[in-house]
């Protein structure tokens, strides 16, 4: 019967091309607006490391006290050098890394070429296995390299292409800030969005790629300055990068991998124990006020998903709803105009279910046509989203296979839902009344 219903639906839609076009346009625009904003929202709100995000935790230690807390009582969202080094030294998680943002100059071997400014992070060796960072060549450095403040570097495939033509550069030398570093690894394509390991400094999203990673203690030792945010509750007593290390200013991101609930509890106790020790020593004049959030909670806490993308999505969904309500009205008018035909079909043996199926198929075809138009308009919308959203955010939106399928599904399902009431009304047409009135 499906083929019969399809044939009837196409015939009916062809009979009133204006009304059909109006419904298809309404669905197409509504779906396109929703899918365009969804493509942005999906890009900014997705879990950047779904297989592991529940085991990755961000600790916060309140080293500023009540006067430095926000109105919600939150401690600083980054760490001071003192706390970060202590946590790394105590090494209570299975894997952990303190990190800060750097932007060193790379001096090419060919003296005729200009130095390249790159961005990157100073991290510990456990950063790479903890975040399952993919390597094209080589690997991260060792814990011994951390301890020895070795001059080693991991570079991006993009920088490797620029410096070494894309060949395996492991063992070769890169000049960073005038000093030679041995390449131990070349990253495969890796540019997670949001940049979850350091949302404080990246603001969540960045179109740029992280080009270099150097050992944390090496970067400190050579005075490679912090290129990220620095927040202070008081002016540091000493000036310069060394003064920053001695201050209570927070500028270091920190992440730890905790495998199970017991490890989380133990780590929380450790943090509180540390804060109590600080309280007893007189360094902290307040009770422990620490936090330990898993990655999804942390991204939520830091409002990584821009509020305007949420608003845009809600507005677009509202538009889709308005289009669907409009479509419901148009379908209702179209279906009930055919009450006479429905009466005849019922008299000739069509059960209500058959009438329901016939008209639902018709609504489905309108939805599918609206979905196809919606696909075209979504493509245009995604290409144009940079006009209304920040460049870093807009660049993340893309049309892929899943968005294509979703667009069609949303169009068809939403239109069929919009068609439920008109279809229900059509199936309740009383054949006797229709036939008497004819």
């Amino acid at each position: 019967m499906l083929a019969y219903y399809l044939e009837l639906a196409l015939r009916s839609l062809k009979r009133s091309p204006g009304l059909t076009a109006l419904m298809v346009l309404a669905i197409g625009f509504g779906v396109a607006a929703s899918m365009t904003t969804w493509s942005v929202f999906r890009a900014v709100s997705g879990d950047p490391i779904p297989w592991k995000s529940a085991q990755l935790f961000v600790p916060q230690i309140d080293n500023w006290g009540p006067n430095g807390r926000g109105s919600d009582g939150e401690p600083p969202n980054a760490m001071s050098y003192n706390e970060a080094i202590t946590l790394m030294r105590d090494h209570r998680a299975r894997l952990q890394s303190a990190m800060y943002q750097i932007s060193p100059s790379i001096v090419p071997a060919d003296a005729s070429k200009h130095p390249i400014n790159v961005s990157g992070h100073a991290v510990y060796s456990e950063f790479f296995p903890m975040l399952d960072v993919p390597f094209l060549f080589g690997s991260g450095w060792s814990a011994a390299d951390d301890a020895q403040r070795a001059a080693v570097v991991v570079i991006s495939s993009k920088l490797n292409q620029k410096l070494f033509g894309g060949s395996n550069s492991v063992g070769r030398t890169v000049n960073v800030e005038g000093k030679d570093y041995r390449v131990v690894g070349v990253l495969n394509d890796w540019n997670p969005q949001p940049r979850f390991f350091d949302v404080v400094n990246s603001g969540g999203f960045s179109t740029g790629v992280e080009d270099v990673f150097v050992p944390f203690q090496r970067a400190i030792a050579v005075g490679m300055p912090n290129d990220g945010n620095t927040n202070c509750n008081a002016v540091p007593a000493e000036s310069g990068f060394v003064g920053l290390q001695h201050s209570a200013c927070v500028w270091i991101a920190y992440m730890a991998e905790l495998d199970d609930a017991a490890a989380v509890t133990a780590y929380k106790q450790y943090l509180d124990g540390y804060a109590r020790d600080m309280q007893q020593s007189g360094r902290f004049g307040w009770a422990p006020n620490n936090r330990l959030r898993d990655l999804p909670s942390w991204l939520d806490n830091q409002h990584v998903v821009p509020s305007d993308t949420k608003v845009s999505l809600l507005v677009a969904l509202g538009l889709l709803l308005a289009c669907l309500v409009n479509t419901t009205g148009l379908l209702l008018a179209k279906f009930l105009r055919r009450s006479g035909e429905i009466g005849v079909r019922r008299a000739l043996g069509a059960p209500r279910l058959a009438i329901y199926a016939q008209f639902l198929v018709e609504a489905g075809i309108v939805g599918l046509s609206g979905g196809l138009l919606g696909l075209l308009l979504t493509g245009v919308g995604v290409a144009s989203v940079g006009w209304v959203l920040p460049k870093d955010i807009a660049a993340l939106a893309r049309v892929d296979f899943s968005l294509l399928v979703l667009t069609l599904l949303v169009a068809v399902i939403a239109t069929m839902l919009a068609g439920l009431y008109p279809t229900f009304r059509a199936s309740r047409v009383q054949p006797a009344w229709q036939l008497k009135s004819n």
Binding site: M1, Y4, R15, E341, R346, A347, P351, P431
Partner: protein, 240 residues
């Protein structure tokens, strides 16, 4: 074939109950050609729509081809309509967007019949009503008499046990009406059971049996005082 016993149909509103049929009794045997007559508003069409399972009734019993239909659900009623009943309406009720072939195909589609059998039945029924050459025409391209013949072909295509006709010649001129009536008589002679609602005494006279409905009840005209009163009024008017 069709037996209604103490059947009633009440239309209720918050303030009033209107009986369309009251203590309605009728028994139509297999192979009969029965004409149902009565004044406008007497309940003829209500009887026909209940007989055709297009409407439910409020009380009493209705047996159609041996089946008590009062408790059947929509699916079962639709199946009986589709397989046992053929409808012929005054206004033809062809679907204007479907050609003659597709119109006749409608009830066969709901029966789940294979395409080859559908085609065979459609062409046979069109031959039967003398319109085989008009299979691809649309209703608007046919005369009223031809449209009614298509409606009869649609009713016949499903080989129903019972044909229900509601003023089948009401919208036709005399010549076309005669043709349609002769066709119905042929169909009856071949063994079909026909129940026909009509205002037309000439048409009613061609049926085997007449059933008269007044105020929602079947009446025996010879014993009904209202009948004599009406005749007396007509006679007075004639003499006066």
């Amino acid at each position: 074939m069709l037996k209604m016993t103490h059947l009633s149909k009440v239309y209720r509103t918050e303030v009033v109950e209107t009986y369309a049929l009251r203590d309605f009794n009728i028994d139509v045997k297999e192979g009969e050609f029965v004409a149902v007559t009565g004044p406008s508003g007497s309940g003829k069409t209500t009887f026909l729509t209940i007989a055709g399972l297009l409407e439910t009734f409020s009380g009493g019993e209705y047996h159609l081809d041996g089946i008590e239909v009062s408790n059947l659900n929509d699916n079962a009623r639709s199946k009986i309509r589709n397989e046992k009943i053929g409808f012929i309406f005054q206004a033809f009720n062809l679907i204007p967007d479907l050609n003659v072939f597709d119109n006749i195909e409608v009830p066969l589609r709901y029966r789940g019949m294979k395409a080859a059998e559908r085609k065979q039945r459609i062409m046979d029924s069109l031959e039967r009503v003398g319109l085989a050459s008009r299979a691809k025409h649309y209703p608007a391209e046919l005369s009223g008499g031809q449209q009614q013949r298509v409606a009869i072909a649609r009713a016949l295509a499903g080989s129903p046990r019972l044909l229900l006709a509601d003023e089948p010649t009401g919208n036709l001129d005399t010549q076309m009406a005669r043709g349609v009536l002769e066709l119905l008589e042929d169909i009856h002679r071949e063994g079909a059971t026909i129940v026909m609602v009509t205002h037309d005494p000439e048409l009613a006279a061609r049926a085997q049996r007449n059933v008269h409905i007044i105020d929602g009840q079947v009446v025996d005209l010879s014993e009904d005082p209202r009948f004599h009163a009406a005749h007396a009024a007509v006679a007075d008017e004639a003499h006066g």
